[in-house]
Structures are given as structure tokens and as C-alpha cells.
Amino acid sequence: MNPPLLVFFVLAAMAVIGAINLILQRHPIHSALSLIVVMVALAGLYLLMGAEFVAAVQIIVYGGAIMVLFVFVIMLLNAGVEEHTNASKLAALAGVPLAVVLMGVLAATVAGSADRVQVLTPGSVAPTKALANLLFQDFVYPFELTSFLILVAILGAIVLAQREKA
């Protein structure tokens, strides 16, 4: 087994185990920590494909900024261990078969398109310059629209927070 493949399996196992652990853990902070493990493992996979910029951004944005906010809110609310209700039993009953079906569909799609999949050589995926050209030239309008959407969301948050005071 060559080293990149070995690293791939280690990272993939980390991501999958982290994701399962995210669901199994009862405490919100432990779930959040598992999600961080998943994010970092995904960044490692990007790095393995030679997409260094995407990997760094994955850690900075998802592993750093977003998950810190998750942890921050959990700490601020001092959320305790989750309680199990009848609804959560229902979710488990309906959720597990649905997840299995989803996985089956995804696996079938991937297996069916095996002949069309491009074999990626490291370094060929999204070098920083090509990515910037895509974002700021070819897809500049969708990109700006997305940032506008986020701006609206921030404004909404401010409005909601202000109303409570008045």
C-alpha cells in the first residue's frame, strides 16, 4: 500500500468515525468536537489531492470560525446533556432507514459513474489562481449575490437583537 493511499484511509476513517461519534455523543460540546474532527479530516483529504488553498480555507472557515461559534453558543447557554423524548425515538426509527437509503443511492451513483470519473493527480485540483479566476471572473455575480444574502442574514440578526431591547 503506497503512503498516499494509507493517509487517505486514515483520514477517511477519522472523518467517518467523527461523524458517527457526532450523533452518538449525548453532550453538545462532545458532538461539536466530533464535528471539528470531521472538518479537519476533510481538510486533510483536500490537502492529499493537492488543493492546498481549499484545505487551509476549510480549516480557517469551518474548523475555526464556524465551529468556534457553535462551541461559544453551547458554552454561553451552558447546554446540558440532551434529553430523550418520544419524538427523538421516532427520529431514530425513521432516520436510520432513511440514512441507509441515502447511502445506497449515493453509492450506486458513484459506482455507476466510475467510467466517467476523472483520475485526479495531486496539484491539478483548484490551484489558488484558478480558483480566484473562477470566483472573481466567471462566477462573480453568483458570488456577489451569495455575499449579499449573508449580509441580509446579518442585518436580520441585528434587527432581531435590537427589537428585544426596545
Partner: protein, 404 residues
């Protein structure tokens, strides 16, 4: 055996480099605490540590032994896994970030292989550093939360809010440097500042003075140092996030803090002060004797000081130390090749030392921010100024027609 060594030489060299760098960084950390206590003490008309060894030079060893041997209690009701994970995470991330720093321009030739100073040379160097910084919030936040105690929780909350707020300004303030270098690699950033004729005038500090000020302030806030040490404000929160930690787990937070101080000093010198570049024009070759000119008088002073020292131990150790320093200085004059090689690391280390001194100086001088001041300073001043700096730099580069 030889075949095996030759086959895995790269991995072995990297392992040796990691071990060496760890040893150096941890030793420097220990003596940084000594340096800080001495400097702050002299600023406040005290002597600082002076009992253990000559001039208190063995104080770090005594502290280290104390950290290792003290009882290490785990408070009741802590979240065990997270409680143990937090100091590990803080220390591991702080030490990892040092690995990306390059310490010198030229490779050392050992057994026919070029060995560069610095463990990895990533072409996303700066982004990788920011990624590590982004994760290092968790060490502090989780320590505060898992301790199951009020003061640490408040400290952890403060620190995560502070680090998230200042991370934006930190990232935006280096955009100017990245634009003018056209690369994320730290080597390229230093290379872009090189100008053989102008020397110091080619450095980023002149066009990027705004960026530097924003970066330094935000970086001090990221490392939780005075005047941004609200997460561990001892007069309000006992010791903040590490109140419930004792013994070596406390030492791990301590080492992490000092290591990130070193990283920030490295980054400041590399991005804004030309890294290993000499401040003098390349034609001034006599400046190459500067390392010797500093080492020899310093070594002689240590000998002179040691002879008069009040303890017998000091009278033996200090002159010995002085002789070694003087001999090093003399060695550099005798071997020009070694002197040439040492120029880059010499300048980089001098600049790092200056920034470490500034850190300590600030601790001796500035009072702590109030929490609302901290937030409004970060969001209303630092972020807009660093954004403006990025826009101005981009416009100037556009007008000059020098895109990459």
C-alpha cells in the same frame, strides 16, 4: 543499514530537525520566562529572580522541576476528556505553528544533502499558520468550559469572543503584504522585500505601516497577552481559563502562550521587517562582522561580571559562559564561510528578540483593556483600518500596473 538510512534520509532529517527545533523552542521558552521576569522587575525597580544560580539563570530549571513534581489534582465534576484534551491541544497547536517558520535563506550541506533551516516550506505557509491559529481558540475555550467552575467559564467565554473578533483584523491586515509579494509562502514574502541597494528601505514596514500596526495589535490580542489578557485577568477572574489546572497541565498552557509569542515575533519580522535580510545595502560588506562585534564584547562583559560575582558558583560558571560566547564571536571572524552562513539567521533572530522585548515591555507598561473597549477597538477601529489598508494597497498595485 546504510541503504535503509539513504532510502529514508528525508524522513530522518525531518525527524532530527523536529527534535532539535523542539529542544531549542522549549529552552528559549524557559529562558523567555526568566527574561520577562528580569525585564519587568527592572522596570519596576526590583531585582527579579536572583537566588537560583548566578543572576537567577537556573530559575527556569527550578520552575520546570516544580511543574513536573507538584501534585496534579483533577477537580471533581470536570468533564474529564475535554479537561485533559484542552492543554494538549493548546500546546500541540502552538508548537506546530513554529514548524512552518523558515529560519535562514541558505541550506546547510550535510552528507551531500541540502538541509534547509525550518521544518517545512509550504507554499501556503501563511494560510497554514492562520489555520492553526483558528484552531488554537479551542484550547482556551474548552479549558474554560470543562473545568466546571465559574471563573474559568467566564475566562473561556471572554477569550473565544476576543479571539474570534481579532482574528478577522489579523487576517485582513496581512492582505497588503500578500498582494505585494504575490505569494503565501514565507520565503517568497521575504524575497519580495529584498533590494540589494536600498536595504532597510525595501522592507514592507514602510508601505505597510498601517498593516503592521493592525497585525501586531491583533496578534497580541490573539496570544492573550497584556494589554489584552482579559481571559486570565487575575484581579477579576483569579487566573481565568486555567484556574483549575495545576502542575504540568498548567505548564502546558504556559509553554503554549510563550511559544505563540515567539511565532508572532517571527511573523512580524518575516512579513514586515524583511525576515533574514540585512538592513544595510549589500555593498556594505563590513556589516557582516556585526555578529562578532556583538558577541565578543558581550562575552568579555560576562567574564568581567562573573569574576566579581558574589557566589563561588557564579565565579566559575559566568566566566565559562563568557569564554564560550567570546570564542563563538572569534570563530566567526576566523571562518568567513560560517560567518556568511550565519548572517541570515543572525538578522532574523535579532528581530525576533526585539519583538519579544516589545512584548515584555508592553507587559511592564500598559494597563489592561476594559471588555467593551476591547470589543469596540477590535471591530470599530482595527477591522476598518485593515480593510482600508488592503483596498489602498490593491489600488496602488493596480495603478502601477504591477499585477501578478
Amino acid at each position: 543499514m546504510i541503504d535503509f538510512l539513504a532510502q529514508h534520509a528525508d524522513i530522518l532529517i525531518t525527524l532530527v530537525k523536529i527534535a532539535l527545533l523542539l529542544f531549542i523552542v522549549l529552552t528559549v521558552n524557559a529562558y523567555l520566562t526568566w527574561f520577562e521576569r528580569k525585564v519587568v522587575a527592572h522596570m519596576q525597580s526590583r531585582w527579579g529572580p536572583h537566588r537560583v544560580g548566578p543572576h537567577g539563570l537556573l530559575q527556569p530549571l527550578a520552575d520546570g522541576a516544580k511543574f513536573l513534581l507538584k501534585e496534579d489534582p483533577t477537580p471533581a465534576g470536570v468533564d474529564k476528556f475535554t479537561y485533559y484534551l484542552a492543554p494538549l491541544m493548546a500546546l500541540a497547536l502552538a508548537l506546530t505553528s513554529i514548524a512552518i517558520i523558515p529560519f535562514g535563506p541558505d541550506p546547510l550541506r550535510i552528507f551531500g544533502r541540502d538541509v534547509y533551516l525550518g521544518i517545512v516550506d509550504l507554499n501556503i505557509g501563511l494560510l497554514a499558520l492562520f489555520a492553526i491559529t483558528a484552531l488554537s481558540v479551542y484550547g482556551v475555550a474548552l479549558a474554560g468550559w470543562s473545568s466546571n467552575s465559574k471563573y474559568p467559564l467566564l475566562g473561556g467565554l471572554r477569550s473565544s469572543a476576543q479571539m474570534v473578533s481579532y482574528e478577522l483584523a489579523l487576517t485582513m491586515s496581512v492582505v497588503g503584504v500578500l498582494l505585494s509579494a504575490g505569494s503565501f509562502s514565507l520565503r517568497d514574502i521575504i524575497g519580495a522585500q529584498a533590494s540589494p541597494k536600498l536595504g532597510v528601505l525595501g522592507w514592507n514596514i514602510f508601505p505597510q505601516i498601517l498593516g503592521f500596526l493592525c497585525f501586531f495589535v491583533a496578534a497580541v490580542a490573539e496570544t492573550n497577552r497584556v494589554p489584552f489578557d482579559l481571559p486570565e485577568a487575575e484581579s477579576e477572574l483569579v487566573a481565568g481559563f486555567h484556574t483549575e489546572y495545576a502542575s504540568f497541565k498548567f505548564a502546558m498552557f504556559f509553554i503554549a502562550e510563550y511559544t505563540s509569542m515567539i511565532t508572532v515575533s517571527c511573523l512580524c519580522s518575516i512579513m514586515f521587517f524583511g525576515g533574514w535580510l540585512s538592513p544595510f545595502p549589500a555593498s556594505w560588506t563590513f556589516t557582516h562582522f556585526l555578529p562578532s562585534a556583538i558577541l565578543i564584547p558581550f562575552g568579555l562583559w560576562v567574564i568581567w561580571d562573573g569574576i566579581r560575582y558574589e557566589t563561588i558558583f557564579g565565579r566559575i560558571i559566568l566566566p565559562g559562559l563568557g569564554t564560550v560566547i567570546t570564542a563563538l564571536g572569534a570563530l566567526l571572524i576566523v571562518f568567513p564561510a560560517v560567518n556568511e552562513f550565519i548572517q541570515g539567521p543572525f538578522w532574523l533572530l535579532s528581530k525576533i528578540f526585539v519583538f519579544l522585548f516589545v512584548y515584555v515591555w508592553m507587559r511592564g507598561t500598559l494597563p489592561r483593556f476594559r471588555y467593551d473597549q476591547l470589543m469596540s477597538f477590535g471591530w470599530k477601529l482595527l477591522l476598518p483600518v485593515s480593510l482600508a489598508n488592503a483596498v489602498i494597497t490593491a489600488s496602488v498595485i493596480l495603478v502601477r500596473g504591477g499585477g501578478h
